[in-house]
Structures are given as C-alpha cells and as structure tokens.
C-alpha cells in the first residue's frame, strides 16, 4: 500500500503486468474512491460551471459527460476534470483526489451565483474496465445499458446499489465508472468480483493510461502548463462564452505555443522516468513527465515537454538516464492501438 493524496492505495494486487493485461483482455476493477466530486445545482448551474471549465457543457446533451480543464487566469491547469450534465440545473464534476480541496476552494471563490457543493465524502467510485466490462456491469443491472455510449451516463442500480453509471475510464478500454454511496461500495465491489472481475491497482492504472498518453495531473499537466502546450486543445472551446483562462490562451495562441507535450519511444535500451532531462545537442531542453515499459506495446515509452520545434513526429532527442544520453524519437500517440 502507498499513501496517495492521503489515501492508502494498493499499487498492485497480483502484479502490475498481470493486472494490466487483465484490463486489456478481460475486465479489471479499480477502487478510485479517492476521486473528488463537486456539484452545482439550481438555476444557472450550467452557466456557472461552464465559466469555470474549458469544454462546453452547453453543447453536451443531458446524460453526457465532457473531459475539461479547470484553469486559472494564466491559462494553466488547476486540475483536469470530467463534468457530467444531468440537466442545465445539475452539473456534477469529478476531480482529482490530490486537488479536491484546492478545486473546491477555487470554484467557490470564482462562482458568482450558484455555489458549488463538495460531495467528495458522499461518493465512492469503482472503475470497471476492459473489453468484458460492459457485459459484466450489464449482468448486474436491470436497466439496459446499450444506449449509454462513450462519455454518456445514466443512473440505476448495479447489484442493488444505486449508482451513477458512467461509460468513461482512464485505461483506453471500454468500461464504466460507478459512483455509489461509500457504505455500499464494498457490497458492489464484491458483487463485481463474484461475477469474475479481478482487482487492479495504481501501478496498472498508470501503465494503462501512459500507453494511451492520458495526462496525469501533477506529472504531465500542472499549473505551469496550458492545455495548448499539453496537446489538449480539443478540450478547449474558444468559441463558447467566456471562461477563466480564455484570454491567456488566446494570447498564447497569438504569440505561438513555446513547448508541447509529446509521446516518444526510446530507440536505445533504457526506460524513461518522470523528471529525467530531455537533451538536444547536449543541452537540456525539456523534461520527461511520465514513462514506463509499456506491457501491451512492449516498448519503453515516455511523455514529456519539448520545444515546439522538436514536437513533430519523427523528431529525435536524447533522454538523460543516470548521466547517459539515450536516443529517443517522437511517435504517434496513443502508443497503444487496439489490434
């Protein structure tokens, strides 16, 4: 067990690689109850939340979720979030555990009419991920989930436990994230295990998301980088009504984006790890933010910020590993593509 933002969390149950493969080929369960939840309710909830995030909830349907940035005035990340539109008067936002208190304070301070409510203690969360996740959850749910497409959600009972049933995840596989009352989470967990799902820990969660180049707050995105630098321009809707950070992003777009978050693979032996220096012609020009030996792709891959001139696919640089420069090349991401 490791301490993760004050939560005791398992790095692995049976082994990182086995759990990783399990999620790629079958179904794995992640206890992600540490994630925070913040809610906006009442007339004007959508407009209030929409002014705080980069994606556009006004273009989403009820029952749809959007991935978004929560930015400060500099246009850099306070957090990355998933915002759920129950209705224009009910927005539910899932935030990172390590940022939950900071996010809530930020939202409270910047909300004008509709004040957020911190619901983090009212929800546990279990992520059910893998190609067999849909059938597993469906077998425990009386309601048909066929209509719940990617980034859609519904509410209903799973194994008799009332849940928000969200077709989302952080692995690159199909699956659900189930939000439920904390006192019923154990019953739900064991009901899912009784149907054949096995647990997976933080280690597999990290290798799975790294193979997809999904950003992890604190590693790949933080309050020193904008979504434009992070390659997350697609979650920024510049044409919507004003949002915090918009002016800074417009200015950055006009001035040119100085660095970009790229995915690379090593072309010599070694494994890139976060904080290793990225070198060009012997000079440090960037830093690795995440890296691993991808269990599915069987390659040593990393994510890191490099000057925009080095960001194109095929660009080469070195990663400094224990004082030694090891050759790397920018590649297309996600690193992992389904066969």
């Amino acid at each position: 067990m490791v301490d993760f933002a004050g939560w005791d969390m398992p790095v692995q149950y049976s082994g990182v690689v086995q759990e990783h493969e399990l999620v790629r080929t079958g179904v794995g369960l992640f206890d992600v109850s540490h994630m925070g939840e913040i809610e906006f309710k009442g007339p004007g909830a959508l407009e209030e939340a929409n002014r705080l995030i980069t994606n556009d909830l006004s273009k989403a349907a009820d029952g749809q979720a959007v991935y978004a940035g929560l930015l400060n005035e500099k246009g850099t990340f306070v957090d990355d979030v998933v915002a759920y539109r129950f209705s224009p008067e009910h927005i539910f936002i899932c935030v990172n555990a390590s940022n939950a208190d900071k996010d809530f304070a930020w939202m409270s301070q910047n909300a004008k009419k509709v004040k957020p409510v911190n619901r983090s203690d009212d929800y546990a969360q279990i992520a059910v991920q893998g190609p067999k996740a849909f059938a597993l959850v469906q077998s425990l749910c009386g309601k048909s989930l066929e209509g719940v497409g990617t980034y859609r959600f519904t509410t209903g009972e799973v194994a008799g436990v009332p849940c928000i049933i969200s077709r989302t995840g952080y692995t690159g596989e199909d699956g659900f994230e189930l939000y439920c009352p904390p006192d019923k989470a154990e019953a739900l967990w064991f009901a899912l295990m009784d149907k054949g799902a096995l647990p997976a820990g933080l280690g597999a969660r990290d290798s799975l998301r790294t193979e997809m180049k999904y950003a992890l707050y604190g590693n790949d995105i933080d309050d020193a980088h904008t979504p434009l630098e992070a390659g997350l321009g697609w979650i920024v809707k510049m044409d919507k009504a004003d949002f915090i950070g918009k002016a800074a992003l417009e200015a950055q777009k006009a001035a040119g984006i100085p660095r970009k978050l790229v995915g690379f693979e090593l072309t010599e032996p070694g494994i890139p790890r976060s904080h290793y220096a990225i070198l060009k012609d012997g000079q440090k020009v960037g830093e690795v933010t995440s890296g691993t030996m991808g269990p599915s792709i069987k390659k040593a891959v990393g994510i890191g910020y490099v000057p925009t001139a080095l960001a194109a696919e095929g660009s080469t640089f070195h990663v400094e590993i224990r004082g030694r420069p090891v050759a790397a090349r920018v590649v297309k991401t996600p690193f992992y593509k389904k066969a």
């Binding site: 790095v11 990182v16 280690g203 269990p295």
Partner: protein, 128 residues
Amino acid sequence: MSNYPNELKYTKDHEWAKKAGSNVVVGVTFHAQDALGAVVYVELPKVGATVKAHESFGVIESTKAVSELFAPISGKVTKINDAVVNNPGSVNDDPYASWLIEVEPTNAAEFDALLDQPTYVKSLEAAH
C-alpha cells in the same frame, strides 16, 4: 512460494552470492524480484569493471520502480549474464538461475562476512 537456497550467501540489500571456483556469482533474491514486480530492464557493468562491496554496480527496473543493485563483495567483473539483459523477466521466473555478474574477489573475507541463509530469512521476517 518464497525460496532461499541454503547453500547461498545473502546481503541485507537482497542480493545473493555463491562461489564458482575462486570467483563469486551474484544475483538478486526471491524477495527482491517479488518486491519489484515484473522486471523489465537490467543494466550491468562491463566485463573488466571494478565493483566495491555495498556500492551500486547496476540497476534493475520494474514497470513502476528503479532499484540499484549493490555488490556483495569487491572485485573485478569477469562475466555478465547477457541472457538476463536480453530477457529481464527471467529474474522473476528464477532469480537464482538468473545470475547477473561474476566477480573475481579482491578480499576473500568479504564473502565470508555475508549473511547465511537462516540469518537472511530471519531479517526478512523481522521486516514484516
């Protein structure tokens, strides 16, 4: 199941050592590979390099972690196990067959001072 052969010597850093003629063969213990998880990369010194007791002679990495390898004894590297470099997962399959380096010792007393099997196993139990 955990496995610590009687005929080996051990270090508190979870390396094992055994005599091969006048040289000493070095690897990591069952506990080390179990704690690391799937080993995906091993970096070893070159043949001819010198290693010093208790000092790092290489690196072993799992999916999640980087760990240093510490030399049980001082001496000159006479062989490295390329099979393990090419197939790091073999350390998990059999940590005792998957030796890492062979060393020509400079001080025979260092080998004799290593932990015997019961002492090492006791230290593992004490740590839990």
